[in-house]
Amino acid sequence: MENTPTYTAKDFATDQDVRWCPGCGDYSILKQMQSTMAEAGINKKDIVFVSGIGCSSRFPYYMDTFGIHSIHGRATAMASGLKAARPDLSVWVITGDGDSLSIGGNHLIHLLRRNFDLNVLLFNNEIYGLTKGQYSPTSPKGQVTKSTPMGSLDHPFNPQALALGADATFVARTMDRDPKHMRAILAAGNAHKGTSLIEIYQNCNVFNDGAFGVYTDKATKVDTTITVHEGQPLLFGQGNAKGIRLNGMKSEIVSMADFSPEDLWIHDSSDRIKATILSRMFDNNALEGGLPRPFGVFFQESRNRYEDSMQEQLDKAVSIKGVGDLDALIQGSHTWIVD
């Protein structure tokens, strides 16, 4: 084993000026990422950040690791090839809601089902920032933007439900305004052996300011958000006065004055059905009786990593046929000699 140097977050900063707008949520994510990498104990030379196109995709320029700022929507595909070729690397995909769910939607779902061991950070700001404010695939229906002066017609994607639908093996949500939670989720994603899909609510203070305000403002967040912890009951509200219990397949809010924690939904991230219900606490708060928006690791499971299975086939082929000999390859099975 080679020795990995000890790093601080600062060791991951580059000499490039960070060019996001002042006040952008991306700054917070960059900072947490640098801290996470300092704690991860991975040599910088073995880390690669791969991004697509969009504001978030400038990210690799600000991490002193290897990095590719690729083309729109394709970071996931690029990272798949990289990981297939180099299973030894720690690979991080940085993408946005437009990059990964619109132009790159196809590659994202295929990455998730294949389960390469890499991490996808989906910066969701529900808007196109770099192109100056068009609606994105996660913008709520009816959102007025430059390209939708009368409101968007599109039903939005639910990234958590989409990832679960694509059989992702690690699905989590966090937000730019909660650094501590974000670091915990990034570390959990890094520890997961498989593709980790981490959605990060990220405020675009220029084109979509306050999109997640209801979940981040001190005054409201206590009632509008819930953080799920493994093996813990789903509690939220001031002084954890409220809980969520499952009534059949339906989640409902109960008062802790009437219920004990044992009556509540106990978070179990290995339960795919419950994860699905959790991901569906999304659609319409009013109709759902004001269910809070969940944060945390919704689901994780262990499944074969693509790069391992690929290597196993190569090893198996060698064990059956022996290490390939070039002359045998060139001559094939039927030859003849002309004197």
Binding site: V48, G67, H69, L82, A317, G324, H334, I337, V338, D339
Partner: protein, 615 residues
């Protein structure tokens, strides 16, 4: 009774039938027998885009053309001498290729009323009975019936019995051309080793066809095509896609790299994926991506990681890959893009051949995005050209497009194969963590005298750097919007391609004198037809020469000089005139075009006719 044997220098046979009749297999097996016997061979499979087009119709006809000879040949033959027609549609679709006096071997069961109607013969008139075949020799065999009789009481169902009928035809032809059944018998025994019943059925029918020729009194003569005097060496038969795949594996190994192949299925390139996927014990990683874009992007990711990333497609897929190829040009990393061209535009003619993606290879990307282009001229040449393509992409840190086409991809020929040790080593320009730093700083876009940057891959200590599609600052590789820097970088990327010319062979002539009246200048799969035509012209005493371009971008340094030696230059192409534009624009020549855009290769006769008009 005695049967005579007539010697022939070469024969062209076209096996034609329904796409479910097994004509490709019949043709391949007959080819293998002749190749092992020592004939020179050239084949051309020609099949519909539909896997099972409506049975009995002209649209559903699948053909396999085989030219075998006791001399050197370079094409699958212009005119067909023997046409095997398993049904009326097969006859109708191919009769125009049969030369006058040629032979039709017709399966009369395929000429019943239903087949005549499906083939759209007017008034269901049977061409075997009317005047249609007056100028030809016709051998009528009820193949269907004979096959049934041979397999009576075997317990096989009608469908399974019907599937054996191609073996009857093959057996008959093996007899007719005085060949042993051994190779075919071996193949059948291996292929159906798991199914005794089917194996025995095929072997029985094969023999039945052979002895039918032997015992039937109608057939009094057999033909003999003696082995060709090919140059001494070890030979095998090879198809273009197979040769390209093998070349990629061998060259990657020669470069000390691992091969990663990202691909999405597309006709006629998929066989490269199939071939590579068979060779996992060579460490080849094949990745069937979700689409063409993911395929090329995964290959770029692999190259970034230090493997050789390879992707292949045909024109429509290459169009989708365009943006990513541009990225690889910016990243200046190795990437090999194989285009097995087919008829276009759009979906075009998926199973037919064309050379119409040359301009796409040259210019089919946004911005000033030059890359290197290498083309292959025959099935076996796909191997050599591929080695060159790999060498250039790896040693020059630039994407290379390898141009092949449906004709050579599926065609086959005997190949005097090399020994791996005799192939030149390929030297990737890897960075060295100990030497690449300058005062503690790494400059990823510093270049050598060839303008080639180093390949610094993840895992190399202290060489962390960021690359991307945004314009790079010279040397540092940092993002730069500086106007002067952009112009400088565009010029550098162009010059870098031009400098490859110092590193490729000079353009040689294939045949003819260095000066003269006419130079026939070709590229890609037209090689064989041009070679045959020019040879005939030279033999007739005409002042004609042939040059064939392998390196398209950049062209060999002496190409311009070479053109000056001739009064006229003729450029035959299977497109509407693309190479001719590149040549005339670059060298100020007034080369003349010869274009064919029918989804079919040139017949050498077509080129010869044009030569005779000009000289």
């Amino acid at each position: 009774m005695t049967k005579t044997t007539e010697k022939k220098k070469d024969v062209t046979i076209l096996f034609a039938g329904d796409s479910g009749d097994g004509m490709q297999l019949t043709g391949s097996l007959f080819t293998n027998t002749n190749a092992l016997y020592g004939n020179d061979i050239s084949t051309f499979p020609n099949f519909p885009a539909e896997i099972r087009a409506p049975q009995g119709t002209v649209a559903g006809v699948s053909g396999f053309k085989l030219h075998f000879a006791s001399m050197n040949i370079f094409t699958p033959g212009d005119d067909v001498e023997v046409l095997v027609a398993m049904n009326a549609a097969a006859l109708k679709a191919n009769l125009d290729q049969l030369k006058i006096g040629g032979t039709v071997i017709a399966n009369i069961a395929g000429f019943d009323k239903k087949n005549l109607r499906l083939a759209k013969y007017e008034d269901e008139s049977n061409p075997l009975l009317d005047y249609t075949l007056d100028k030809f020799r016709v051998i009528e065999i009820d193949v269907t019936k004979m096959t049934k009789e041979a397999l009576i009481n075997t317990g096989l169902g009608t469908k399974e019995i019907d599937r054996c009928k191609n073996m009857f035809v093959l057996g008959f032809l093996l007899w007719m051309y005085n060949r042993s059944m051994e190779t075919t018998q071996k193949f059948i025994s291996e292929k159906f080793a798991q199914n005794e019943l089917v194996k025995d059925a095929n072997l029985t029918v094969l023999k039945a066809g052979y002895y039918f020729g032997d015992t039937n009194e109608t057939f009094t003569s057999r033909f003999e095509v003696e082995s060709a005097h090919l140059p001494a060496g070890s030979y095998r038969s090879i198809m273009g896609n197979q040769a390209a795949a093998l070349g990629a594996i061998v060259a990657t190994k020669k470069a000390g790299l691992e091969l990663f192949y990202g691909s999405y299925p597309i006709t006629p390139a998929s066989d490269i994926l199939h071939e590579l996927a068979r060779h996992k014990n060579y460490g080849v990683k094949t990745f069937q991506a979700e689409d063409e874009i993911a395929a090329v992007c995964a290959a770029i990711g692999a190259s970034y990681g230090g493997s050789l990333g390879v992707t292949a497609s045909s024109g429509p897929g290459i169009a989708l890959k365009g943006e990513a190829i541009g990225l690889a040009i910016m990243l200046e990393i190795p990437l090999l893009i194989i285009n097995v061209q087919r008829g276009g535009p759009s979906t075009g003619l998926p199973t037919k051949t064309e050379q119409s993606d040359l301009m796409q290879a040259m210019y089919g990307r946004n911005g000033e995005a030059p890359l290197a282009i290498v083309s292959a001229s025959s099935p076996s040449d796909c191997f050599d050209a591929m080695i060159e393509a790999v060498r250039i992409t790896v040693e020059h840190m630039i994407p290379v497009i390898f141009l092949s086409d449906g004709f050579i991809a599926n065609g086959s020929e005997p190949w005097s194969y090399p020994k791996a040790i005799d192939l030149k080593a390929i030297t990737p320009k890897m960075a060295d963590p100990k030497k690449s730093l300058d005062d503690g700083q790494y400059y990823p876009y510093r270049r050598d005298e060839k303008l080639v940057r180093e390949w610094a891959i993840p895992g190399m200590e202290d060489l962390q750097h960021r690359v991307g599609g945004l314009e790079k600052e010279d040397e540092t590789g940092n993002v730069s919007y500086d106007p002067d820097n952009h112009e400088k970088m565009v010029k550098i990327r162009q010059e870098k391609v031009e400098l490859i010319a110092n590193d490729i062979p000079r353009q040689e002539l294939v045949q003819g004198e260095a000066k003269g009246k006419l130079l026939v200048l070709g590229w890609g799969s037209t090689y064989g037809a041009i070679r045959t035509a020019v040879k005939q012209a030279i033999d007739a005493g005409l002042s004609v020469s042939q040059a064939h371009i392998r390196y398209i971008n950049p062209f060999p340094k002496n190409l311009g000089e070479l053109l000056i030696g001739y009064d006229q230059v003729l450029i035959p192409e299977l497109n509407n005139g693309q190479m001719i534009q590149l040549i005339n624009a670059k060298y100020g020549t007034k080369a003349l075009p010869l274009n064919k855009i029918k989804g079919m290769p040139f017949a050498s006769r077509e080129i010869k006719e044009r030569i005779l008009e000009l000289v």
